[in-house]
Symmetry: C2
Subunit: 237 residues, 2 copies
DNA sequence: CCAACACTTCGGTCGCCGCCGAAACGTTCT
DNA sequence: AGAACGTTTCGGCGGCGACCGAAGTGTTGG
């Protein structure tokens, strides 16, 4: 009797994610990039036709957005909210009793360092978050935060400019890290830090996954700027 | 080939939510209370046997926890993370093109004021959040926040004590409000405010739902303490 | 001790959905 | 124009799972 609309649409969205092929597709898109239908079919281990069906459903439930480009179709997450919801689900998943022990090397790499939509996650993401909070550059009241004045100066010195015209997006958000089970930096700040590290060559993608590798330069710079010493090394590939 | 473990478990959790009956069960538990199997069967509009199967699955995927009590079995959300994930999904759902126009009176009531796990949400939740932030009692850097010194004094004057022995839980978190599409106060602070309002009779549950009604006393007090004038009235029942 | 009750398990039906082969559509390249 | 390619549509198959009736387990209460 309490069959509210909300219940139906909640089920629809969740069911849309709740298929292994589609979950893999979404996971592959979690780094915020846009991939073609066939790339996604490969990621999901299914034929092109099957993937096409899944993609259509994901678009219909507004989890994905499409962009036509020549004979390709690029799919990407429809919004940061989608990425947020997926990470939240991952957090629940990893909280449960570890029923899937066989954590492969790929998972190890992901746990080490990865992108989460457009910012850093994993041990690296947490390390950066901790570095900024311990120096009072960012204040996080548990899962939330603000950038202090000192923080703005520090970021400015690093060459990161957070000023943005249409400040549509949040400056400093947090996102629950499913592997570390703690919040890491997201929002415009998180994205800016991540972009910065890519541009300066501190980090690189491992193959074409969300997993990241910290370069030799990156290790030096991370120590220099953030005092991060710990071995954040993929140790894979 | 990128069939990571994470994809499988993500799908498993999402699929667990992705059934209308189970989604309704979870929705009914979103206020943080524990309900019996038959109550939940009623909420989901299915027979007791069917509900039992659903509940077993939800427990297996660690979305729900059970507590035996005599011949009853009380089910509740397994953790705040679960509530968080569901709210995140709701946010995605309400972001998509409004395909389900027929928003009934119950939805209206929910949008007005409701509990979200153990804190306030809907227009009321947002109003309280805004009141606290506009007076600098709480600093929210977009979706995150900390309680200021003035804020602590204010809350203390109100009779809310945030000191807690085992400070296991976060003091001030935020949670994305799916109806208002903005973050509202959660964490220990959010819970304390909600409890306080219940205890003093400012708010009451509408029937046995998550929806809330602001009492006449509540309206006065909300104006007194938070300067909230706007009509936050369920207008139902 | 038996009836009432809350809940779960079992058995069987039915519908939905994920899958692929084949074919159609649209774009690009030569 | 024709071939190659990326993508979608169609059709049919197979299996999972949601559902309920009936029966079983365990608890409460007279």
């Amino acid at each position: 009797m309490t069959t509210l609309v909300s219940g139906i649409v909640l089920a629809e969205i969740a069911a849309s994610i709740g298929d292994v092929s589609r979950a893999n597709i979404l996971s592959a898109l979690m780094d915020g990039r846009a991939l073609t239908a066939s790339e996604l079919a490969w990621h999901a281990n299914v034929s092109a036709q099957t993937a096409s069906g899944h993609l259509a459903k994901l678009v219909e439930t507004s989890l994905l957005a499409v962009e036509k480009q020549g004979r390709h179709r690029y799919y990407r997450l429809a919004s940061p909210e989608v990425a947020h919801a997926i990470e939240a689900l991952m957090a629940v998943a990893s909280a449960g009793p570890k029923r899937y022990r066989p954590v492969g090397p790929k998972d190890t790499a992901l746990r080490n360092a990865r992108t989460c939509y457009d910012h850093l996650a994993g041990r690296l993401g947490i390390a950066v978050t901790d570095a900024l909070t311990s120096r009072n550059y960012v204040v996080l009241s548990d899962s939330a935060g603000a950038v202090t004045e000192a923080g703005h100066r520090f970021l400015c010195d690093m060459g990161i400019d957070l000023a943005e015209p249409g400040h549509k997006r949040a400056l400093c958000r947090t996102c629950l890290d499913w592997s570390e089970r703690r919040p890491h930096l997201a929002g415009r700040l998180g994205a800016a830090l991540c972009t910065h590290m890519f541009e300066r060559g501190w980090i690189e993608r491992i193959k074409d996954t969300r997993a990241l590798k910290v370069t030799a330069l990156g290790k030096n710079e991370l120590k220099e700027f953030f005092g991060i010493e710990e071995q954040i090394d993929a140790g894979l590939r």
